[in-house]
């Protein structure tokens, strides 16, 4: 799933009746999802003695997804999708980079404070602020307070890293 499967599109008017390429992608994705469901259901061993087994529901949902895939396909071919405005890919990528940083820092044991500070600064930048130092300072203070409140008052430990161990 990438966020820019569409943002490159030009703005289109509501009157546009051409085939909607993003709509095709959506229909295809739904069909693929249905296929995954059926494949996964076929891997289950049906050891249910009474009533309905665990594979019945996935198949029902897969059939529904299949039908909806066709429905979305028709909408796309008719160009029936609602109008979209152009999007700013840079802002989206910045926030996604922030989320990726967050996950990486937590994953490598950098701790809650550093991770969420990174997220705060990138998000703030995505919304057009350029004061990285000031934002970092604000974020550090805020996340440290959150960490302390959780750790000391609620005895719930958020992921700890080098900074947290100093506290």
């Amino acid at each position: 799933m990438t966020p820019d499967s569409a943002p490159s599109d030009l703005p289109r008017g509501p009157a546009s009746r051409s085939i909607d390429r993003s709509g095709l992608v959506i229909a295809l994705a739904l069909a693929a999802l249905a296929a995954v469901l059926v494949w996964d259901a076929s891997q289950l061993q049906s050891n249910t003695v009474y009533g309905m087994g665990p594979e019945a529901m996935p198949v029902v949902i897969a059939v529904g997804l299949g039908i909806l895939s066709i429905g979305n396909l028709i909408d796309a071919l008719r160009g029936n999708l609602p109008a979209r405005e152009s999007a700013d890919p840079k802002a989206v990528w910045l926030i996604l980079a922030g989320l990726a940083l967050l996950i990486a820092i937590i994953g490598f044991g950098g701790g809650f404070i550093l991770a969420t500070t990174a997220l705060f600064v990138t998000t703030s930048a995505a919304f057009g602020r350029r004061a990285i130092l000031a934002d970092s300072a604000i974020a550090l203070v805020m996340t440290t307070l959150i960490y302390l409140a959780f750790d000391r008052l609620l005895t719930l430990s958020l992921p700890a890293g080098p900074l947290e161990r100093l506290l």
């Binding site: 996964d40 009533g51 997220l119």
Partner: protein
């Protein structure tokens, strides 16, 4: 009547100044923690329970009641202000509430939700005090087949959240149903769609999905459109308080919401989500201005909020009379009660009337405290929206991360949060409604397991669904609700053609 005297006695204890102070502290702490996105009432109660340990039983019970109601209410504040429901039960509130907040009517939205919670909480607590024994007899008659029928009814009402395209609405719902399949199958213990990732075995956490779709998705979407016209949020446009018109449009939804919330909450597997959505769709159908729905209709906040709070009181019915914890929050309450030497169950009302009536009195007091504390805070909360956009959204993301990490500190969970955020962004961009995904995730697994339980008991005979009168009646109502719009539309078209 004996109950009245007992209640009066409980009240006399509860209104002592020290106890009132405990109630206030409880409500304050509950609201403060409950307001954090991703931290639902269950976690709030779990986290704050130790705070009450050191008080005497009466005082701790009262503070506990305050924490409970504060936690329940806290979730709706973020739902309204920043479109980030703290728990699934305040999702319906977010639908209209956030639209109101964006239109500068956050004040009235918060007020109607606080007053609605109070009204519903008071009526439902009265119901708890006087109807509990009778209600619980009805509740245990609900078997798996009846729950399945109730879920069918709930599925039909979901269409109220579909927006203008049934295809896209259903697509959202089915994505939710698919997400609901992930994890260990409750009836056979087999893993579905887990792809060998152990963190997926427990399934998708509703709060992770809701926070991802609503909060992270919203942040991405707003950021992507910033270059168009900076969306200037005015915290207050018009009156900060509810106008006469607002009152007129709110009081009936409050009462109807209570009527949905209390009985369904009292069912052992009823939950709070179904009544909130039943209330939402009912209000949408009954509203004088249905076209306002989706743009910020106050009825759509008043009803679900009342239903949410009434169902919270409803869950206390099976908890106190049978010792049945029917939700995660109720399970935490049970742990709390046991701490105070209160063992919920059929003997509780007979053995410890002092504690039961003390608790019920505490609930009244806590409920009133909630209103007293939160109405003046409305002005302060609304100011949150005046925070500059970069900091507001950066802060929302930090809090969303915090909530997720507090519940499940794992990289997989964070990745899911980010993934759902991207999904929420794409869905907004391509105009797919968001709420049905979360509803699918909540209702799908319940409907499936109840159906399979019913079929296991009947040894595979599907007629069991019609043999139970409750189930047959509910399925009938669902069918009518499903067909009525089409029939009406058809009739309308027929008439139009005649002209």
């Amino acid at each position: 009547m004996d109950s009245f005297a007992a209640l009066a006695h409980g009240m006399a204890i509860a209104v002592q100044p020290m106890n009132l102070l405990y109630a206030l502290i409880g409500v304050f702490l509950g609201t403060a923690v409950g307001v954090l996105p991703g931290i639902g009432p269950a976690l709030t109660v779990a986290l704050l329970l130790p705070v009450t340990y050191k008080l005497d039983p009466g005082g701790s019970l009262i503070m506990f009641a305050g924490i409970y109601y504060g936690g329940m209410y806290g979730g709706s504040t973020t739902a309204i202000l920043i479109n980030t429901p703290g728990e699934s039960a305040s999702m319906a509130t977010a639908l209209e509430g956030n639209k109101m907040a964006k239109a500068g009517r956050g004040g009235p939205a918060l007020a109607t939700s606080a007053i609605g919670s109070f009204v519903a909480g008071t009526i439902a607590t009265l119901g708890l005090a006087f109807l509990a024994p009778w209600l619980v007899d009805v509740a245990v008659r609900f078997g798996p087949e009846d729950y399945f029928a109730l879920m069918c009814l709930a599925f039909v009402t979901v269409s109220a959240t579909f927006g203008d395209s049934p295809v896209r609405g259903l697509t959202s719902l089915f994505i939710g149903l698919t997400l609901g399949l992930i994890g260990i199958d409750k009836l056979t213990g087999q893993a579905r769609l887990a792809f060998g990732i152990p963190e997926l075995l427990d399934g998708v956490e509703v709060t992770t999905l809701a926070v991802g779709l609503f909060a992270v998705g919203e942040a991405l979407y707003v950021a992507s459109r910033r270059h168009h016209a900076e969306e200037k949020l005015e915290p207050v446009r018009g009156s900060l308080w509810m106008t006469k018109e607002d009152w007129k449009r709110s009081w009936k939804p409050w009462l109807r919401g209570t009527l949905f919330g209390f009985p369904i909450g009292a069912l052992p597997a009823g939950g709070a989500e179904i009544p909130t959505f039943l209330s939402y769709s009912t209000e949408k159908r009954l509203a004088k201005h249905p076209e306002e729905f989706g743009k910020g209709a106050i009825e759509g906040v008043a009803g679900p909020e009342a239903a949410n709070n009434a169902s919270a009181a409803g869950t206390l019915v099976p908890l106190l009379t049978l010792g049945l914890p029917t939700s995660a929050t109720a399970a935490m309450m049970l742990a709390g009660f046991q701490q105070y030497g209160l063992n919920p169950g059929p003997l509780l009302f007979a053995e410890r009337p002092d504690l039961v009536w003390g608790l019920i009195a505490s609930l009244f007091i806590a409920n009133a405290m909630l209103l007293i504390l939160n109405l003046p805070l409305v002005g302060l909360w609304v100011k949150l929206l005046a925070i500059p956009q970069p900091w507001l959204y950066a802060g929302i993301l930090v809090f969303a991360t915090m909530g997720t990490l507090a519940a499940k500190p794992s990289v997989v969970e964070l990745s899911m949060l980010a993934g759902f955020g991207v999904m929420g962004f794409l869905m907004r961009r391509f105009d797919f409604p968001i709420a049905p995904v979360v509803i699918g995730l909540i209702l799908g697994p319940i409907a499936e397991s109840q159906l399979r339980r019913a079929l296991a008991i009947s040894l595979g005979d599907p007629m069991t669904l019609l043999q139970s009168s409750i189930s047959a009646a509910l399925l009938g109502v669902a069918l009518i609700a499903l067909l009525a719009p089409f029939v009406l539309k058809g009739l309308g078209r027929f008439k139009a053609n005649e002209d």
